[in-house]
């Protein structure tokens, strides 16, 4: 497979501007002659569908939710980065670009990241114009806070509900286009296959979740904005329905899947309380602005937190990373927590967490200020744990949260299948091996509002006068039949274990062997266990109910089936990447101090996996990464 990143020539600061000028345009009057499918209605998909609709294209938007407003972007809490430099503390587009490349442990594409930093400022303007109620200072101007991996204040926020407010902003723009008739919305409809005709994306096959009916939709171009795959771990901070199916089905039809082993384990989540747990809840990274993370020095210290004196506490992030302290990047903070818990210093009934302590901040600023900043997060914590963070420190532990890997895309966000695009978390492009906090909202909106609407015309313009492949084409009919058979098959197995039971077992394997720390031995073990479990799934799955009315067990079966295949390429990717970088930590590759040890000589590249027909033997392709602007360095936050 040839991987052409199509990065424009010229100095980094001019690439995007010159691209926008050089690309082909579609005349406004001709846009209605083009049909575009957008799958997913989160920040990236919602923004893309709305903007393409505004521009005059005929858009069909698909979501498996009841309403576009439910997409998981809504759950992002802390904020969105933008290089506005409103605080005058030395921020700039270049600094945001630099921080993001460094934060990603030098495994992202410079040109993409620079473009992201450039568009970040437009996002804040756009969202404010749309009525997103960002937090403000008393003078009426926008407020900022700090996030991990940065030494400037560039994070805009709307209380602890920034994702909600941004998603509602994008949803409202989409709703406007639906009302105007420019976008046709299909809710409770799930993608079950991508159709490629003559090597080009022709459309999608979907399943109506209410009736089980399988139908096809064709278009000139297809955009997948279907999010990440953290739920492969079963327990993650993702919503229950988040899945990899759309990206995986595209992969099976020829789209390369890049860097699947780059997964982000978020340091501040509420620790698991028991085996029945269905998901983990994130506590925003913004809490680390005022909370101090510590563990008792003595593993056998059984005193309640407030009785442990200062000298018996280890503020390990402040000790190990004095200049970034509690705001060390996520991958580093997560691993440091694991070190403490593995050393037996964990706190809580299961000794599976560390403290995030606000008593200093409450003493300094007063309870009222802390309540204003984090009140809703504290309430959420108390509802779940029955403990008040005002009285005792929070207990936190890392949990799978975000996946930097995803469908391989070029500079135009086009996958390796012409006409098939991937936006937002579904693609791999901007965060390298680790994403900095408050950058996911930024990327989703940049892709949806500003990148795709510019790049898609370059593909569409030459197609003027052509009509999409009709949905009675044999390729569509074959894909429909395949999907129908697949769902009928899940129902007919009649085994003994539910999809959730399998998902839980798969998640356990992935967390143990492909989680925060990976070893050759563990990954090889996982690669032996996963296909065996998948085989058991095929023989012993039990799905009750029918395929002709709403059946959540059946939906789940399809998603778990795809997770099995993804899990294998994740482990293979982790096994072949013989280095540690960002969220990918191979125990064999660490410094004496336990920090990640990159191998730039052999691994400064993107691994893009190609489907071979056999999930155990995909083909590894390589796109070299070139760093002309940022000097490759050992990432230090000390």
């Amino acid at each position: 497979m040839e991987l052409n990143s199509k990065i424009p020539e010229g100095p980094i600061a001019e690439k995007w501007t010159s691209y926008k000028f050089d690309r082909k345009l579609v005349n406004p009057a001709n846009r209605r002659k083009y049909e575009v499918i957008v799958v997913g209605t989160g920040l990236a998909g919602g923004a893309a569908a709305a903007t393409l609709g505004e521009q005059g294209y005929k858009v069909k938007a698909f979501t498996f939710h009841d309403s576009p407003r439910r997409a998981h972007s809504i759950a992002a809490q802390g904020g969105i980065n933008a290089a506005k430099n409103y605080k005058g503390d030395g921020d700039s587009i270049y600094r945001l670009f630099y921080d993001t490349v460094k934060g990603g442990d030098f495994r992202s594409r410079e040109a993409n990241v620079y473009r992201l930093a450039e568009e970040s400022v437009n996002i804040i303007d756009q969202m404010t114009a749309q009525g997103v109620p960002f937090a403000r200072e008393y003078g009426g101007l926008l407020d900022n806070r700090s996030f991990g991996g940065a030494q400037v204040s560039r994070t805009f926020y709307a209380r602890g509900q920034t994702g909600q407010q941004l998603l509602l902003g994008a949803y409202q723009q989409l709703a406007r286009q639906v009302g105007l008739g420019n976008v046709e919305l299909h809710n409770r409809t799930e993608l079950v296959d991508v159709v490629v005709v003559d090597g080009v994306a022709a459309g999608i096959v979907v399943r109506d979740l209410l009736t089980g009916e399988v139908t096809s939709h064709s278009a000139h171009a297809v955009v997948l904005a279907t999010g990440g795959y953290s739920n492969v771990f079963f327990l993650s901070t993702n919503a229950m329905a988040c899945n990899v199916t759309a990206a995986w089905r595209a992969h099976r039809r020829g789209a390369a899947f890049a860097n699947p082993c780059y997964t982000q384990i978020h340091p501040t989540c509420i620790p698991q309380s028991d085996d029945f747990q269905s998901k983990l809840t994130l506590m925003s990274e913004s809490l680390r602005n005022d909370g101090r993370i510590w563990a008792p020095k003595d593993p056998d210290d059984r005193r309640p937190a407030h009785e442990i004196p200062e000298e018996d506490r280890d503020y390990y992030l402040e000790r190990r990373y004095p200049s970034f302290g509690n705001l060390a990047p996520r991958d580093i903070a997560s691993r440091a927590a694991k070190v403490e818990v593995d050393a037996g210093k964990g706190v809580g009934p299961l000794k599976n967490g560390v403290f995030l302590d606000f008593s200093d901040a409450i003493g300094r600023l007063g309870e009222k200020v802390i309540e204003e900043r984090y009140g809703n997060l504290f309430e959420m914590y108390e509802r779940i744990t029955d403990e008040s963070p005002y009285r005792q420190p929070m207990r936190i532990y890392p949990a799978p949260h975000y996946t930097m890997g995803g469908l391989w895309v070029d500079y135009e966000l086009m996958t390796s299948v012409p006409g098939l695009y991937a936006a937002g978390e579904a693609n791999f492009s901007d965060h390298g091996a680790n994403r900095l906090g408050a950058s996911a909202l930024m990327q989703g909106l940049a892709d949806g509002y500003f990148v795709l609407p510019n790049t898609i015309s370059n593909y569409l313009a030459p197609l003027l006068g052509t009509t999409p492949v009709p949905t009675d084409h044999p390729a569509f009919k074959a894909a429909e039949a395949e999907a129908t058979d697949r769902f009928a098959q899940y129902l007919s197995i009649g085994g003994t274990q539910s999809p959730d039971a399998f998902h839980m077992k798969l998640g356990r394997i992935m967390w143990d062997y492909c989680g925060m720390e990976r070893t050759k031995e563990g990954l090889e073990k996982a690669l032996a266990e996963i296909p065996a479990l998948h085989e058991e799934f095929r023989k012993d799955l039990r799905v009750t109910g029918s395929g002709s009315s709403l059946n959540q067990t059946l939906e789940k079966a399809g998603r778990v089936d795809d997770f099995f295949e993804l899990a294998q390429v994740m482990c293979l990717d982790a096994l072949t990447r013989e280095e540690s970088c960002g969220g990918h930590f191979r125990a064999e590759h660490q410094t004496e101090e336990g920090e990640a040890e990159r191998d730039d000589e052999h691994f400064a590249h993107v691994a893009a996996w190609e489907w071979s027909g056999d999930p155990t033997a995909p083909i590894r392709n390589v796109e070299p990464l070139e760093f002309d602007n940022v000097h490759l360095a050992v990432r230090s936050y000390k």
């Binding site: 756009q126 937090a135 028991d274 509802r383 039990r542």
Partner: protein
């Protein structure tokens, strides 16, 4: 950590036009640290193991923000805990031996899809009618060009916190959607950016709301049920703007 033995009376309904009924399901050995939905997960897992069809219910983020979960629990929208969506309700709020009645949202404009799941797309229609600011992508002025007094931004945010779950409608004896609509209208009408469409917005949204939902008679049940504790003061704000709009928009119409 305690074990609870509870009995569920669950509404089961095969489809929108099928007749529904209550199923009584014993749920022994429930850990009180579980969330309410984890309890239902466990019940479903047991039903599947018995070869029975799982109970259909809407849910997703389980963090109280996506607004997908619903459920009338013992006759209360989102259950007994104030300011809490079903997904954040925990079993420690229940006692051993309790019988818990679980129903879908009860409102004609939210038809049952299956079991406990309802169709809330009427909410989308209200937003499509005017719940936005027309600001097409590109060309937005600098975000700090228009300072917004903090109290105004805070009030807009209080309204914008609505998660669109529909508890207000389910709790209302008239199945009115005034709190939902008022929250969206107020969020946008309070902000300087929303002024250009202030009156056309409120008129279009209220008129669309009335196509689907009942009328508000100030019971205040909506604000009690709201998991985000959105105040009914916003309904007053909406009514004020609506009244003005009826005059203002008529005048504009006469001029054109």
């Amino acid at each position: 950590m305690k074990e609870l033995n509870v009995t569920l009376k669950v509404w089961r309904q095969d489809g929108p036009s099928a007749p529904g009924h209550f199923d009584t399901i014993a749920a022994p050995g429930i850990n009180d640290e579980m969330s309410f939905l984890e309890m239902l997960d466990q019940v479903n897992e047991r039903l599947i193991n018995e070869g029975k069809e799982a109970i259909v219910f809407d849910h997703d983020c389980r963090e109280g923000i996506c607004g997908t979960c619903s459920l009338m629990i013992d006759g209360q929208a989102h259950g007994p805990q104030k300011g809490t969506a079903t997904c954040q309700l925990h079993m420690r709020k229940f006692a051993d031996g309790d019988t818990i009645t679980i129903e879908p949202w009860r409102a004609t404009s939210f038809p049952v899809v299956k079991d406990l799941m309802v169709d809330r797309s009427a909410f989308d229609r209200i937003v499509e009618a005017g719940g936005f600011i027309t600001a097409e992508t590109g060309g937005a002025p600098d975000a700090n060009l228009t300072p917004i007094p903090k109290p105004v931004a805070d009030a807009a945010m209080d309204a914008a916190a609505c998660i669109g779950c529909g508890a207000c409608v389910a709790a209302c004896p008239n199945s009115a959607a005034n709190l939902f609509t008022a929250a969206k209208v107020s969020h946008l009408n309070l902000l300087p950016q929303g002024q250009a469409e202030r009156y056309s917005r409120v008129e279009a949204m209220v008129d669309t709301m009335e196509e689907f939902f009942g009328s508000c008679t100030n019971h205040g049940e909506c604000q009690e049920a709201c998991p985000k504790e959105i105040s009914i003061d916003f309904i007053a704000l909406m009514n004020k703007d609506y009244l003005k709009a009826k005059f203002k928009n008529r005048k504009t119409l006469a001029r054109s």
